[in-house]
Symmetry: D2
Subunit: 365 residues, 4 copies
Amino acid sequence: MSVINQKIPVGILGATGTVGQRFIQLLESHPRMVVAGVGASERSVGKMYKECVNWKLDTPIPEAAGTLIIQPCDPTFFVKSNCRIIFSGLDAAVAGDIELAFLKAELAVFSNAKNHRMNPAVPIIVPLVNSSHFDMIPHQRSLFSLNRGFLITNANCSTTGLVVALKPLQDAFGPLSRVVVTTMQAISGAGYPGVPSLDILGNVVPFISGEEEKMEEEASKILGTVSKTDFSFVTAQDMRLSASCNRVAVIDGHTESVFVEFKQRPAPTIEQIETVLSQYVSEPQRLGVYSAPEKAVVVTHLPDRPQPRLDARIGKGNAVVIGRIRPCNIFDVKFTLLSHNTILGAAGSSIMNAEIAIARGMISD
Amino acid sequence: MSVINQKIPVGILGATGTVGQRFIQLLESHPRMVVAGVGASERSVGKMYKECVNWKLDTPIPEAAGTLIIQPCDPTFFVKSNCRIIFSGLDAAVAGDIELAFLKAELAVFSNAKNHRMNPAVPIIVPLVNSSHFDMIPHQRSLFSLNRGFLITNANCSTTGLVVALKPLQDAFGPLSRVVVTTMQAISGAGYPGVPSLDILGNVVPFISGEEEKMEEEASKILGTVSKTDFSFVTAQDMRLSASCNRVAVIDGHTESVFVEFKQRPAPTIEQIETVLSQYVSEPQRLGVYSAPEKAVVVTHLPDRPQPRLDARIGKGNAVVIGRIRPCNIFDVKFTLLSHNTILGAAGSSIMNAEIAIARGMISD
Amino acid sequence: MSVINQKIPVGILGATGTVGQRFIQLLESHPRMVVAGVGASERSVGKMYKECVNWKLDTPIPEAAGTLIIQPCDPTFFVKSNCRIIFSGLDAAVAGDIELAFLKAELAVFSNAKNHRMNPAVPIIVPLVNSSHFDMIPHQRSLFSLNRGFLITNANCSTTGLVVALKPLQDAFGPLSRVVVTTMQAISGAGYPGVPSLDILGNVVPFISGEEEKMEEEASKILGTVSKTDFSFVTAQDMRLSASCNRVAVIDGHTESVFVEFKQRPAPTIEQIETVLSQYVSEPQRLGVYSAPEKAVVVTHLPDRPQPRLDARIGKGNAVVIGRIRPCNIFDVKFTLLSHNTILGAAGSSIMNAEIAIARGMISD
Amino acid sequence: MSVINQKIPVGILGATGTVGQRFIQLLESHPRMVVAGVGASERSVGKMYKECVNWKLDTPIPEAAGTLIIQPCDPTFFVKSNCRIIFSGLDAAVAGDIELAFLKAELAVFSNAKNHRMNPAVPIIVPLVNSSHFDMIPHQRSLFSLNRGFLITNANCSTTGLVVALKPLQDAFGPLSRVVVTTMQAISGAGYPGVPSLDILGNVVPFISGEEEKMEEEASKILGTVSKTDFSFVTAQDMRLSASCNRVAVIDGHTESVFVEFKQRPAPTIEQIETVLSQYVSEPQRLGVYSAPEKAVVVTHLPDRPQPRLDARIGKGNAVVIGRIRPCNIFDVKFTLLSHNTILGAAGSSIMNAEIAIARGMISD
């Protein structure tokens, strides 16, 4: 009881879904947060979590969360339960209004849905990349007339891995001019039931609705800055990005073939690029928060890595693995990156964002 | 008997391998050629084909070829059997010398191995692209002091699909300046036993040894021309190509995400590109040879196609399917292409090359 | 025009589904039947077939059927179009009443749904096994007060392969006493979207709802006889059958491990069993109907076959492949069988049943 | 240093193989054992482990073991290094003689190879089942003229899961009379490179060489007893077992459909069977050894479980999960079981056997 009291109570919306299950799993023994409420759709409300979830992870349902009763996705119960933080794994079809309701109830909302990402008052924060965008929050609160609540979104899962690779390069070598990326994305990214097996077994599906557009627009917002004067987002406008997104028969882990051109001439060498990537230290690492990976970027020199089946869990799924860093005939460098799409690419980033917020004192009692 | 006499006897080297099996399958009821000899490694010599092949195709072993006795991979038997054409599915480890021996025995050799592809006297012919490179043969014969024999190579399977897409664009709109391509290649491309299942099930392997280099150097040879003066190859030197090659859990069919920039300004529109691709007519179609696909390039407008499991057999595996033709933020156009790696990408191209040679009267009695 | 007039017009219900697509594919160039109508659910009615079907087969949509307009699943249009035969690929959720309506409209209905299978007036006919059960039709017509219409069901796909293996054994060696069977079933058996990829990629799901019960009850009806006195079904009551059904990551083809005990003592030898299986001739073969496989049962002596990816298309998907016939420590024999679940196990059997009915003169003008 | 000194130094033979890698992984932070030597084939000898292993597990190579130098597979180094225990993951092609040499060098050898399993002086011990067979060791030592050394084998991976399910039933309800089992086995059971991807992707291979024979003969030795008079093995001779073994596209975890008949009449009820299975306590649990699972048998009531992808890691891979316990039309009960083939089915059992030996004081200083 006393331990729970010391932890911050959090709520999970869309708790029975693919991302919701990851939240439940990752928060099981979190030292600073405890799951105090789980929300899901009407047909689950009132049932015990473990009895209505179609659990698809390869670890057991956590005992404590398993016995929680599913609540409706409105703030009443969560406010009453003293939740300070709301993690939303809601589907975009319903996330928009629900997340706003929780925001207006003065909760700190960490969303995985796309609905509010491009809102000029809402940051997309990839914790290994742009925690500086928390600076936008006072402005957001004033716009929404809030005292304590705020809304932070995650990036799309395929954007997340990419910007973690690009950020150290941009920091070290200045603006990127052109980035071509082809993704090979895991099926867990589509949720459950998600991708029909007849579509993906022994196959590649060269299309994920809206995905390329998301990568192209989110990346320049994330890699941009927050204006100190008017708190608007200043996008990384020198950078042009072109994406081609594919679904492959992989459970977890998005693999991306990336081709990068720098603005700076002469361009950095391959060795310089490797050094910068492997020495990159992100804010969660500096703050020492619980979910921070030991290294934000793990550079591998094995010739045929990273591979999603073997490497997606590196850094507990919160690191990006980069390999095959080599010269490009057209741009300056090409490489392959891998990130865990439901950990770093979803629940893990939300949790690290919350940990940063806690560390910064943004979650009041 | 008389029918067989009218057909041209052909030999298949490496007949028990993955590509060799495709030759046997595709030639089963060929109207102009009949398999008269099959060569394989020492341990199979003297055995009946059907008793030593580890047949991995989903159609039965053809009756006639099944009862042939495996021969050593030297020309003696094949010359005695009156073979005019040799299809080589030999592994690169042994193909070099063996193919030369057959060439010197005055046979028309169609090779799938990489060994002689970059030889300045040997063309790489993708039959849907550059049958004009047969013009090199007289020069080749004079260099090798041959009367009837000649040696034609196929392109690497991942190169093949790409150049079929690029050739119509180059013909219609002039030189290409930059091509970025990321491949997602089928396991059958690695032969048998080839890729271990522990490596590829639920996984992506972002590396295929030598593959990117092959794509980069072969494409500009194939898309280049043969000099009328000294019969040297003039490469498509304006074109820079950068490839990233990946293995995915697909049986047959290489999928490629392609980004293309033209030299011409203004660049052609998406509609012009679609029109040129879908109206492209290749030499095998003009000649009406047996294996020619109805359309060399099949343009699909379905939003999530081409897909290897569903589309690789289009045009009996001898066509390239192109979809998702759309504008690119960086270059002029991006699209996804699919080609069958062991048909058009290997045995099918060799057979069409032989059909072209027959049609051109290059296979003498 | 004249050719079409000579063919019997047929309708397909549930035409956009997995089984419906197989009907469309298999009937494309049928010599005696032509698809004259396609029925599907309300949301597709009025649209052109090729524009609303989510086609998942690896051959193109047949031209003629592709331009048909989807009709509602009631008999009006089909009767008006002079259809004599209705193939139903409807889902069990709706098949019951719709199929009855077509039956009452005096059409010959061939159903793949489970709804009417255990009806004492409706035969389950596996064409390679018990076409003798057509003898029930006059009785059925009198019960339903019909002149021309009748209703024949297919067996469940996993039952179908099994009874094709058991029937020749029962014919030759007398009643079977015990049959234990474990299935490894393809995902296409669950339709589309069907099995979520997260459930089956790299996995086995040891449960298919209702499947074991279907196998256990259907098999004894199919392997039984129709009483000449009261036209009731006399089940193969000596036979006890116990099934365990599993879903595996296979596109098409159900594999079954079967253990069989005969009543007769001494039991037949393995050689006798192989001989009887490989020499079995079914009614469709005797009648020489279009879809009959050359052999109903293909016995393979390769040590590691049958395999679904390589062997499911044998006999155009209308044969059963049996291998590994060997002694059993407990019963008399064990073996592995394979059948194509959407061809022989669904659409193919319906079509052969219709062909038998045509051959028997049961489809009047 | 002192901690290492307190731990028992152990050697791993075949350390770079699939089972060898599991040993390295599972022993990484073992409280009582430390890897002091790694042996592999000639071509690796002298290299650092992490530089010659083709590591295929999804956790990183342990630091300490990673820097060990590969030794030849003879006892010299291992004896010199004071190893007391040898874990052998050697291939059967070489395991026979090598393991004997280590035995003669007075080491405690725990083998995963089949070579000595049916030796009348060598027990096959599945630690969750028949640790009582350690009673054979004094007799074995006297036969081999040994003071300290002994040789214990593991069961074949598919046998292991089965006997863990059968043992509690036999203990509670007396002899089993008949057991029919069909396996669906993971590819990791075949080692690396092992199963070619062309054989298993989207496929089932209904044959694993020697596997059915192993299951049939090992099970009755394991479920039998050691005679107190002459120390011979008394097999569970009332039990007849018939197996059908299949390979499926699963990474880790063998699934088995099991049909069981008891000798006792009336047979136990399904409820009694469930109770006995879920309450089973094995020797490693009683001893409280480090690798013992909390429950040896985990009974699941979810309708579609166990599933290898989701459940193979239960009990850290050292438990057997049993589900779908239900009546059988022919025998008394049928169910589905799952065990992790490279943990409980290989390295995990060897380690638990060693832990039992340590607990019993059989590993002298």
